[in-house]
């Protein structure tokens, strides 16, 4: 498990949504039998498991001690107990929920920052572009996991949200570069000139004339950022740098490693968690790849 640099997928400039909204919908419908359906089912299952599951299954409180050290799976505790004697199945539901939350927050932060910086750099060009891209390139060269580890050690109070924000702050550069490339192309189009002549303000041009051309890309990059955020949290927490009093998939793995679940044969303490992380990452990548096909005419023709 390691941080995944969120590379620009296919910075293909799509047509504006107002012209082809119904076309996209038709295309989505046409793709519904393909891998998009699998991806959507998987993502929906994960969401149901994490957000609705706890109402019906498990002990209701992931921190509640219900058994002994590493009790084997049984009829009461379907996935046994962890080192604290807490129900692993319940923890898995709550841990998945936390990990998704971290992914969404980190994804939003990284995407918003990346898009904002990329748009400004691409639109203005000149020294603004050079300055912003200079900073971006410098940040890209710094291994983000090292910075994340240092920040996690440095901040006194750790919380799920602060961790997600930090991950987001470290993850925007690739997005910024891709968005900047698209923005610098779109800004030369006629409708942008037209907007300038009619006296539209710069923020308005960025928001309404340029950004709509990359909405599909932004959405896909958000999915990727989210996946990356989940995996980075798992990495950090597994190293013991997460907020230990919370439950996330990474923190579950941290305790399992610390309490030697592998050596003692308590597979239920780490296998379901690892599988869940894999399934989440796989589902989100699949979703991103299948959406790519929906949005990108060239891929679709293939």
């Amino acid at each position: 498990m390691s941080s995944v640099p969120v590379q620009a997928t296919n910075p293909e400039i799509t047509t504006p949504p107002d012209e082809t909204g119904s076309t996209i919908w038709r295309q989505i419908k046409a793709m519904m039998s393909g891998r998009l359906i699998i991806a959507l089912i998987l993502v929906a299952s994960i969401l149901i498991f994490a957000f609705i599951g706890p109402f019906f299954l498990g002990t209701g409180d992931p921190m509640k001690i219900v058994g002994g050290l590493y009790n084997e799976p049984n009829s009461q505790q379907w996935l046994g107990t962890d080192n604290f004697g807490r129900d692993v199945f319940t923890q898995l539901m709550y841990g998945t929920r936390t990990s998704l939350y971290i992914g969404i927050v980190a994804g939003v932060v990284a995407t918003v920052l990346g898009v904002a910086i990329g748009l400004v750099a691409g639109y203005y060009g000149g020294w603004v572009d050079e300055l912003l891209m200079g900073i971006t390139n410098v940040i890209i060269t710094i291994p983000s996991i090292v910075v994340l580890i240092l920040i996690s050690i440095a901040i006194g109070t750790k919380s799920i949200t602060s961790m997600a924000v930090i991950i987001g702050i470290m993850s925007w550069p690739w997005t910024a570069r891709a968005v900047r490339a698209q923005a610098s192309s779109v800004r030369t189009r006629e409708h942008v000139d037209l907007a300038k002549i009619t006296g539209a303000s710069t923020p308005s041009i960025l928001l309404w004339e340029i950004m709509p051309y990359m909405m599909s890309y932004i959405f896909m990059v958000f999915v990727l950022q989210m996946t990356s955020g989940i995996l980075q949290e798992a990495t950090l927490s597994m190293l013991g740098l997460g907020p230990s009093s919370s439950i996330s998939l990474g923190i579950m793995l941290y305790w399992a490693l610390l309490w030697e679940s592998v050596r003692t044969g308590a597979w239920w303490a780490f296998v379901p968690t690892t599988l869940m992380l894999t399934v989440i990452a796989f589902s989100l990548y699949l979703l991103q790849a299948s959406l790519d096909e929906v949005f990108n005419p060239r891929l679709r023709r293939k």
Partner: protein, 528 residues
């Protein structure tokens, strides 16, 4: 981590095996025996107390250092007097109990007991933990300057081993073939002792499991699976719970100056709410029996002072309904809408934070069990795990609700020091006046302090009664809440290469790396 930069027993950070309790390279006068609770002869042949005035120690005339020089009364006097000149030496605390040392002849010394704090038990403890230094080696260094910082790379001790190799991966000790104690105590069988410096606990445990380590003192959860499920030649002292010989009692320390926690009945209710059996199973992997309401460790060095009848009569066990009865009937507390009790004077029972250092997994689990038990009886306790230095600063300053800590383990001073640590306010700065190094919650009880003074000078046959009395004060006031028993040292044996290690079925040597446990090397033989 690099290799030790000094093998000096004076260093601020003492490397293996130079601590005074280790009798491998340097040797103290006597060694602490975890099985008997007493000290066994080594350089000292015998000792005799002259009432509470002094103790006379007879040295073994055969004892000699690795360079061939005899260990004499001069070396003992030099070592015991060193903290008077260099207050930074690790055994400087001995001056509180031993005020002077005099040479009688080459093999006899007399130590004067400090009349301001007479305590033969603590004196015995120091006799078993101060390494005797060769005066002819250390005195010239003292004259040259800072002995604490001296980089001792060719240590001269009197023990059965000397340093062969030290690097970041391991420290290798080599047998001293002409060790003076060979005839008296038996010559060690292994030519070398390799002390690996593992990267982590599970790294060490895996090496142990693979038979690469013969003896390990790391915490190995569910170690019994290695012989029960995998049939490995692995053992611990006992074949079943608690597997290891208990030697200490980690406790929860409530701040007795916080409203609510200042009430002994509230503290007793919390104590009734803790599921000690669950705690023993989860937090310490069954390496403890459910703890008793006592500050004395049963079943080992302190067993003769443990009064089970008294514990049963006035102690507490896990009984949540009793906790609720105390809160409602004895304290007149009423349960708020949030499920938390409020005392008659309006004091809400919580929110309180129970804390221990982050990463101390067995303690963290203990506090989770405590917090969950409290929640079930209507007391609001949550857990918090700060970084270790932050935790210690807060604990020593008295700035906490509930902290977990361990007091003095088993020693030749008996449980006296643990009671002192928990209940003696003398010499402890008040909250806000400076850091405390024991009695962190600044508990004060004149009866307990009087009993401590009596126990310190009591004859052996009077001690059971006195310890029962002070334990009774502890049970009445609940200044701390015992949570689990802890092994003095975990003692994991893997007999793939060597056999002959002690177990409870064959207790020829105490199961400790330190103290009298060093005698084990003479009992080993290679597996055919």
């Amino acid at each position: 981590m690099g290799p030790p930069t000094t093998f000096s027993p004076l260093a601020a950070t003492i490397a293996f095996p130079c601590n005074g309790n280790w009798a491998y390279l340097y040797e103290p006068l006597f060694t602490f025996n975890m099985l008997t609770g007493d000290i066994d002869p080594l350089i000292g042949e015998s000792f005799e107390f002259d009432g509470t005035m002094s103790v006379s120690v007879k040295l073994n005339p055969a004892a000699k250092f690795h360079d061939g020089e005899a260990v004499t009364a001069d070396d003992v006097v030099y070592t015991y007097q060193l903290p008077e000149r260099v207050p930074e030496v690790p055994w400087a605390g001995s001056l509180n109990y031993i005020s002077g040392v005099e040479k009688v002849d080459d093999t006899t010394v007399t130590m004067l007991l400090n009349q301001e704090s007479i305590n033969p038990g603590m004196v015995r403890s120091y006799l078993g933990s101060i390494s005797i230094l060769p005066q002819h080696v250390w005195e010239p260094r003292e004259a040259d300057g800072d002995v604490i910082a001296y980089a001792e790379l060719e240590p001269v001790g009197s023990g059965p081993f000397k340093v062969n190799i030290a690097n970041p991966e391991q420290i290798i000790l080599e047998r001293v073939d002409d060790w003076w104690g060979n005839e008296l105590f038996g010559a060690p069988a292994p030519k070398y002792i390799v002390h690996p410096i593992p990267k982590s606990n599970d790294d060490a445990n895996l090496s142990f499991q693979l038979g690469e380590i013969d003896l390990s003192q790391s915490f190995m959860p569910q170690i019994w699976k290695l012989w029960e499920d995998q049939g490995l030649p692995v053992a611990t002292w006992f074949r079943e719970q608690p597997y290891h010989l208990p030697g200490n009692i980690p406790v929860a320390i409530p701040n007795v100056h916080k409203p609510g926690l200042d009430n002994p009945l509230v503290r007793r209710a919390i104590a009734h709410g803790i599921n000690y059996a669950l705690l023993a199973e989860t937090a310490v992997s069954n390496f403890s029996i459910p703890v008793n309401a006592s500050l004395i460790v049963p079943g080992a060095a302190e067993d003769s002072y443990f009064n089970q009848e008294a514990v049963d009569a006035t102690g507490w066990t896990y009984e949540p309904e009793k906790a609720i009865a105390i809160l409602e009937d004895e304290l007149g507390a009423t349960k708020g809408d949030d499920g938390i009790y409020v005392l008659a004077d309006g004091t809400r029972l919580g929110p309180w934070k129970a804390s221990c250092p982050y990463g101390w997994t067995d303690w963290m689990t203990s506090l989770e069990v405590l917090a969950q038990g409290a929640k079930e009886i209507g007391i609001d306790i949550t857990t918090e795990y700060p970084e270790t230095p932050v935790f210690y600063d807060a604990m020593r300053a008295g700035n906490f609700d509930i902290v977990m800590n361990s007091f003095a383990g088993a020693s030749a001073a008996g449980p006296w020091q643990r009671f002192r640590d928990a209940m003696d306010s003398r010499g402890v700065p008040g909250i806000g006046e400076g850091p405390a190094f024991w009695n962190f919650n600044r508990y004060q009880n004149a009866d307990a302090e009087a009993l401590l003074d009596q126990i310190a000078v009591a004859e052996e046959d009077a001690k059971l009664d006195l310890y029962t009395q002070i334990d009774e004060v502890f049970r009445t006031d609940v200044p701390v809440i015992p949570l689990q028993y802890r092994a003095w040292e975990f003692y994991n044996i893997n007999e793939t290469q060597w056999t002959g290690f002690p177990t409870s079925e064959n207790p020829h040597t105490p199961p400790t790396f330190q103290g009298s446990g060093v005698r084990v090397f003479a009992k080993l033989s290679p597996v055919e």
